[in-house]
Symmetry: C2
Subunit: 83 residues, 2 copies
């Protein structure tokens, strides 16, 4: 059993209100180290057997077509877990 | 300017209805490779200057105390971007 990780983040030019809210909460709790916070998504896709190049290619298509909204989000990482 | 990545996933024993819905949508669209999907969160914390051990320690505390709900979520990764 293998797993593919897909990472999706809001595009840099897109406002991220949830990230801003978290930045405010962190600052309020005394975490003054962090000047900005952005929140994105992390998906774990399980495949039977090892992660093949075909499975990675399917994950790339799924990432662009289903797991992210290309208008406002970037797929920033796709890789086999542990690689 | 440095960035710390924090990865949070639902605990394995916790039902992930959003992941299940995505698994159904993927299967419906012909992505039959994936037997399970789980959705978590990925945070980017920006710090001024380089990522120091102190900043990573603050990120660990923020991850446990603010960015995740330890009852239902695990912090699965904390690292300086590009490391």
């Amino acid at each position: 059993m293998g797993r593919i990780i897909v990472e999706v983040m809001p595009k840099p030019e897109i406002l991220d209100p949830q990230g801003k809210a978290i930045a405010g909460a962190l600052s309020h709790q005394g975490f003054t180290e962090f000047t900005d916070v952005r929140q994105g998504k992390r998906f774990e896709l399980t495949v039977e057997g090892d992660v093949t190049e075909e499975a990675l290619e399917a994950a790339r298509k799924a990432a662009e077509g289903v797991l992210s909204n290309p208008v406002i989000e970037d797929v920033v990482g796709i890789y086999a877990e542990g690689k």
